[in-house]
Symmetry: C2
Subunit: 208 residues, 2 copies
């Protein structure tokens, strides 16, 4: 096989394009991103984008699919682990997601705003229907409620509370900074604090 060297180069340009596309799609969304900007950002010729990925749409689908599978793979593995307790999962989910989102702050807005533009296409592809409500995590919560450890709560409320507390700050960051004291370093420090605080708060909600 004489493709080793070229395959490496292939992958290198392909990956350059993907990285630039990831950056721009996540920052500006599909509609506001120009293929020329992706080409420029990755330092390649515009035609190479179509050579490697056929079209802007195809490239976008690839980037989005990778973002979604990355997002849900971690979620699935945590919430359906039969060997960890409800509380374990709570800590692990908050810690894992805040850590990941501090590295890539744009992911939540990217996923949620593009899902809003095209909910069926994007959500049907990933195999996540009733993912939460049928999970070990939620079953464990319901067991705890039945056992009297926590007060009754509808799983949907729990889900909204949990995601709201964890994910919302990343979505609303510019507004929160503006309405608050506007210190970004402080903001990131507070997000680190929330790894510890959110599980405590969630448990407080569950006792109310």
């Amino acid at each position: 096989m004489a493709k080793e060297a070229s395959k490496i180069l292939d992958k290198s340009t392909e990956e350059k394009i993907k990285s630039a596309a990831r950056l721009l799609f996540q920052q500006k969304g599909f509609a506001a991103t120009r293929t020329r900007d992706i080409a420029h950002e990755s330092g390649i010729n515009l035609a190479l984008l179509n050579y490697y990925f056929r079209s802007k749409e195809k490239l976008f689908e690839l980037i989005m699919m990778e973002a979604l599978t990355g997002f849900f793979a971690v979620l699935k593995s945590i919430i359906n682990d039969p060997n960890s307790s409800f509380e374990d999962k709570l800590y692990l989910l908050v810690d894992t997601y805040i850590t990941r989102l501090l590295i890539n702050e744009d992911i939540p807005m990217f996923i949620l705003s593009e899902i809003r533009s095209n909910p069926k296409a994007l959500l049907k592809v990933i195999n996540a229907e009733r993912l939460m409500i049928d999970s070990v995590f939620i079953h464990q919560l319901q067991k705890q409620i039945e056992a009297g450890v926590y007060k009754p709560i509808h799983p949907n409320h729990f889900l909204m509370n949990f995601m709201g507390l964890t994910v919302f700050p990343f979505i609303a960051k510019p507004m929160i900074l503006h309405l608050g004291d506007g210190n970004e370093t402080e903001f990131r420090k507070q997000l680190e604090e929330r790894k510890r605080l959110i599980p405590i708060w969630i448990k407080a909600l569950l006792n109310t």
Copy 2:
């Protein structure tokens, strides 16, 4: 003056365009909205859009400004009312915003995603710098904390928790429906429930 009759017509077409623009901009965002779609949606000739509003940008700025001022006017009047207690404000904010957002579900995603594209331009225009942190609402919270009614919490955490619990469900609706039981009627009923529940939960957080 001979403009009365025509003024009414003016306003009617102007308003038709604005309504269509509001609908499409809020649903699809600035970049994905075509002026032709606005024209078609409002049943007017494409040229009238420019006749009345000069450009797509200008029309967008108008729509966005009205959305922002509507959003913040209510907020300001509630959080700086010296005659209501902290708890009063809590109930009123949650109730007012959930009621409004149930009528126009797209507003939060619209505002937050467009602010993300252009934070300085959009946030500087509205006079809301440190709006929350310098409000009577937050001052009252701090008094209550000093008085030992609530446990200490950083105002930013409070703000993120409060907004997260209230606003996040509207932003993540398609995903929440997909991860949960997918019943939209049920979802709306749960949002109604949250008017009562969020203040209770917030107070639970503040006691933890």
